[in-house]
């Protein structure tokens, strides 16, 4: 599904990623953990093609296609989805209108038929209710005046509608109370299947109580320092990143 080889990248002119190797197969859930500044978000942004992240070496391939040089929307059409850590507001553009534009763009790029307005609305309503989002939420401006929890649930709503091959969730758990965390986690669990894969980027272990990863990777100073299973996350929770850094790689 995703193959990252020796990825080097700079953000705001500074080298951040210093040789990432990662393979994610269909049906897998991977967690990327690490302290602040270790390069977690840069990795997510490099994958999605954010303009201020510059890939200097290495490659990223999604279903066999290199992402290097592709526009962000082309990566999206290939099946890459990024749930943002800080979703931005777009005042005056209703959530429904935004979702329609997003889904339409995918259908067009993949040469699928456009959904009728009625079936689209039904689809969105159904997904929104699963995430406990009230219908009037769909009429409001994109993220405008949303609470932190609503913004994150809105990201998951977009993921459910776009059905990506690879979903990258950047600190989706940050700023969520326990109920919102459960709602978001059940959304991700409902999404995850043998046909897709999930990359969870998180600082804390608590999200992993609700979404069980197949692999946990620890990112330190732009490299994957350790890889293990779920128990690695627990060890980190107990000992902290500093200990891991001391023990060397």
């Amino acid at each position: 599904m995703l193959e990252i080889t020796d990825l080097h990248a700079r953000a705001a002119g500074k080298p951040i990623l210093k040789g990432i190797d990662l393979v994610v197969r269909p049906g897998e859930v991977h967690a990327i953990m690490g302290p602040n500044g270790s390069g977690k978000s840069t990795l997510a942004n490099a994958l999605a093609g954010r303009p201020d992240v510059e890939v200097t070496a290495g490659d990223m391939r999604l279903v066999g296609t290199s992402l290097i040089g592709l526009a962000p929307e082309e990566r999206a059409h290939l099946g890459l989805f990024l749930a943002f850590q800080y979703p931005v507001e777009i005042p005056g553009v209703s959530n429904m209108e935004f979702l329609k534009a997003a889904v339409d763009s995918h259908n067009k790029a993949l040469e699928r038929d456009e959904l009728s307005a009625a079936s689209f609305v039904a689809l969105v309503r159904e997904a929104a209710s699963r995430l406990h989002l009230a219908p009037e939420f769909l009429r409001r401006g994109v993220n405008a005046g949303f609470s932190g929890g609503e913004k994150k649930r809105n990201e998951i709503l977009q993921m459910l509608l776009l059905e990506p091959r690879l979903a990258v969730l950047d600190e989706t758990d940050s700023g969520l109370d326990i109920d919102a965390l459960r709602t978001v986690a059940s959304g991700v669990n409902a999404f995850a299947s043998e046909a897709n894969a999930v990359l969870l980027i998180t600082h804390y272990q608590r999200l992993l109580d609700h979404i069980t990863p197949d692999f946990v990777h620890v990112l330190l100073d732009g490299r994957i320092a350790r890889t293990g299973d779920k128990s690695l996350a627990h060890a980190l929770e107990a000992d902290g990143y500093a200990r891991l850094a001391e023990s060397g790689t």
Partner: protein
């Protein structure tokens, strides 16, 4: 993020689709302006003596006046002797649509303006719109005149009105915008060529939308249209004007005057979609759009509402205003002004509260891209007698890229303590994060920008008649092409 802005920029440059020239024979006065020019225009239009004198008085006042300097726009001085003040397609004025030069009909067709009554009638779904088509200095056709006449509504060119409805014209022409109101209004009063005249009789709701479509075609010619709309007691009318011009290297002057009069309980809704040629990306050519628009709410409980979508012109200088004289009258101003490349706009409104319990609302949305300059200028005045008067002003600016400018010049004069004046202003940028969010969701940057900008303008577009709201959205999209960075 300079690199990002360049991309934004590239996406804002686009082709001006109305920029073609119609090849017809015109009769054009040689450049220059003196009393003979004024007399000549008046004679061309077979005007009565009082009209000629009215023009001459305006001309004499104009000669003593100076162009306004206070606007936040820059341009070299205009040589008023280098402009031609009259240009009309050759031949007699057509008596019916069948007589209109096919070249002219196809011009309007290309611009998407329906001049065929039958066609419009056949489309059951489409609301009917009566059109007055003004080509350079003359009105070439007015549709649905008969249908409207049955309802008692007068809709014709101002030139016809001077001859056919002299009492109404004499009573109201210059009553809202006096001849010497300002430099450009005085010039217009002296040389105005054509424009529309509307009279809605008492207690009549105009049965269809009225619209005038202004087209400048001839080179080196100014267009000086004059519009007068009178809504008698209890009458209602919705009116729309559209404007385009060919792409030319030199600047052309468009100095219009629009006067609206609303008597007791009358309502006038005036919408403008202005898409004059804006000049090229380097700022060559384009229309100087120096326009005076004012409405008088003379009657009690009357209402005048201006909605404008301004995307064209090299320079826009215009302040559609309302004089709230009648007790309980209402004035509204909804504006979207978009500037790109080297365009300059200094636009806004004046709300003069004279009567008691008068209300006004101002919603202004300015969008600047490229190296353009976009200013909102507004004046809200509460006279001492205007007890219970209220105003609400909201002024939002959206910047695309970092080489453009947005400015706000609000003036509030309240001479009465009981008046309530509220003013809100915001400035925001289309930022890289919004663009990236859209792109990550698969939406291409061009569509994303247009969605963001349309969202920003939503409050104003809601005020436009439905079919024009769709037009306005599309126009914005075209004007923004290549603005993304």
């Amino acid at each position: 993020m300079a690199e990002g802005n360049d991309t934004l920029q590239e996406r804002l440059s686009s082709e001006y689709s109305a920029g073609f020239v119609t090849d017809i024979e015109s009769e054009t006065l040689p450049p220059g302006l003196d009393e003979d020019t004024v007399r000549h225009i008046s004679a061309k239009k077979e005007e009565p003596r009082w009209m000629t004198d009215w023009r001459l008085q305006a001309y004499r006042r104009w000669r003593t006046m100076h162009p306004p300097r206070w606007a936040h726009v820059q341009f070299p001085p205009i040589d008023f002797q280098a402009i031609s003040y009259f240009s009309a397609p050759k031949g007699d004025r057509p008596k019916s649509l069948e007589e209109v030069d096919p070249e002219i009909l196809s011009t309007y067709e290309k611009l998407g303006i329906p001049l065929h009554e039958q066609e419009a009638l056949a489309g059951v779904e489409r609301p009917r719109v009566a059109v007055d088509a003004v080509f350079d200095s003359v009105s070439v056709a007015t549709t649905f005149r008969e249908t409207l006449r049955e309802a008692g509504v007068v809709f014709c060119s101002i030139a016809d009105a001077v001859r056919e409805y002299p009492e109404l014209v004499r009573k109201y022409l210059g009553s809202v915008v006096p001849r010497a109101d300002n430099f450009y209004a005085a010039l217009n009063s002296a040389v105005f060529s054509d424009g529309s005249f509307v009279y809605i009789p008492k207690h009549t709701r105009c049965p269809m939308e009225l619209s005038t479509y202004f087209r400048i075609n001839a080179q080196n010619t100014g267009q000086f249209e004059r519009t007068l709309i009178i809504a008698d007691e209890g009458a209602y009318v919705s009116y729309l004007e559209g404007c385009t011009a060919p792409m030319r290297d030199e600047n052309q002057l468009h100095a219009a005057v629009v006067e609206l009069v609303a008597l007791d309980d009358a309502e006038i809704k005036y919408s403008t979609v202005q898409n004059w040629f804006p000049g090229d990306a380097e700022g060559r050519g384009g229309i100087y759009n120096f326009v005076t628009k004012r409405g008088a709410c003379l009657g009690a409980r009357s209402k005048i509402s201006w909605t404008q979508v301004e995307t064209g012109s090299a320079i826009t200088w215009k302040y559609p205003s309302v004089v709230l004289r009648g007790d309980g009258s209402t004035g509204e101003f909804y504006s979207v002004a978009l500037t790109n490349n080297r365009q300059q706009a200094d636009t806004g409104t004046k709300m003069l509260h004279i009567g008691r319990n008068t209300k006004s609302t101002i919603i202004s949305k300015g969008i600047s891209a490229g190296q353009s300059q976009n200013s909102y200028r507004g004046r809200v005045r509460m006279n001492p007698a205007a007890t219970g008067a209220r105003n609400y002003t909201q002024c939002d600016s959206l910047l695309i890229g970092d080489r453009c400018g947005a400015h706000t010049f609000p003036f509030i004069e309240s001479r009465i303590p009981s008046a309530i004046v509220e003013h809100e202003a915001t400035t925001s940028k289309v930022n890289e994060d919004q663009l990236f969010l859209c792109q990550q969701r698969g939406i291409d940057p061009e569509k994303a920008i247009s969605m963001i900008v349309n969202g920003f303008c939503k409050e104003v577009f809601r005020q436009l008649p439905m079919e024009f709201a769709v037009e306005a959205g599309k126009l914005l999209e075209v004007s923004l092409e290549g603005a993304v960075g």
